[in-house]
Symmetry: C2
Subunit: 250 residues, 2 copies
């Protein structure tokens, strides 16, 4: 049985607590949050006072990136202390005798239930036994646990920004173009899903289609002609980048 | 029973023929292609000679956009002639007495079987009876048939470029960042799928997360520091655009 405490109760933390409380091999003994929480949707004990922390095997810090380092320096424990951030180095926990990272690679929306089963969890720790402990903890909720370094995690995080945040922004632009022209955005949803599913079988590089890929300058010009200026710049830059990308590999 | 001929046998045409040949209410009587086709994976008659065309109710032109107008001018018939392009106006078929558009909004990969059931088909025709005929034809393979104008279709097509072509390019950048850093791109696939599925329930505008959305300048700077120059520009432009977008709506 692994005893854990979750420090912070934001988006990710609330999903983690819900997942761990369903698992027999993990005991969520305590949750800390700066502010009180309404209706406490968990069984664990709760505190707003760091000095009330009970002993645990692992302390999971799930707070905003820029607060991790300072928060960690206030946390006095011999347990394993991990953070959950994609972009914060392991060294941010340097005041701890045992430090690690427990980074679930997913975007969490408050209130939307999510199974961790298929969510990759990236783990890191300097000590081999701590890494094994983190592996056990991660495996208790996910089938996909990957050991990666701080350097790799940094790159993975920016890759995630492209495939998640920027992709979502492409959807937003699509939605806004539909709205401006009284077209139901739902018409685009099957295409969006197919685009995501296609790369299960074909690499994105191979899957690329469209006017930029086939250097269809007539269509590109037509599109640019009526796009709002802001989207024109994005269209132009992405089109140029796609064209360069396929020139290179010819 | 609607008798159709399919003119051209590229990616889209081969998928359309396969779908229509499974439908009882449609009879694919003939396929025309400029070049002979190996193994002819269809039951319809085949010709490489436009003057051999048999009478049909609907002629579906499925050839590259820039060839549609010239091709149509060589096609002499009293039947309904439609093209399948997202960006070519109805007027490209002006030499026809009866013209229309039959535009399935999806990206087709050669060899990858695809059901049209959930693919929106956008139809257009000047004559009301022709529009009804096109509606019947489209409904025979798809549950989602939408009447849209040439102007709307043009906008929808550019929206599709953003949500399909440019989104796929975001995946390509993600893949390339992974490869450069010896990270398995498969780790990103659950996130990619979740990003596409999320907007089934939340609008993309609401679903936006990430450093740009929360104006996390520290993370943005870290990301820019190690990105290759080409991706740096894309990262910067999209980040600025997201920030503007959320400033506006505050």
């Amino acid at each position: 049985m692994i005893a854990i405490s979750v420090l912070g109760y934001g988006n990710l933390a609330s999903h983690l607590v819900a997942a761990f409380e369903k698992v027999k091999s993990v005991n969520v003994i305590q949750i800390y949050n700066r502010h009180p929480i309404k209706n406490k949707p968990f069984n664990a004990l709760f505190t707003t006072n760091l000095s009330d922390l009970l002993p645990a095997d692992i302390y999971i810090i799930a707070i905003p990136d820029d607060a991790i380092s300072v928060f960690s320096s206030k946390l006095k424990t011999d347990g394993l202390v991990v953070h959950t951030s994609g972009s914060v180095p392991l060294e941010a926990l340097q005041t701890q005798s045992r430090a690690g990272v427990f980074y679930p690679l997913q975007s969490f929306t408050k209130g939307k239930a999510l199974s961790f089963k298929n969510i990759p969890i990236c783990i890191e720790a300097t000590d081999k036994k701590d890494l094994e402990l983190l592996f056990k903890l991660a495996r208790s909720i996910s089938d996909s646990v990957i050991k990666i370094t701080t350097a790799q995690r940094k790159k993975l995080h920016v890759a995630a920004v492209f495939v998640n945040n920027f992709t979502n922004y492409m959807y937003t632009i699509g939605e806004s173009l539909c709205e401006d022209n009284k077209i139901d955005f739902n018409i685009l949803k099957p295409l969006i899903l197919e685009t995501a599913l296609k790369i299960e079988t074909v690499s994105p590089h191979q899957a690329q289609t469209g006017p930029a890929r086939r250097k269809d300058v007539v269509t590109i010009k037509k599109h640019l002609d009526f796009l709002p200026k802001e989207y024109q710049e994005i269209y132009t830059l992405l089109t140029q980048s796609i064209q360069k990308n396929y020139d290179k590999k010819l």
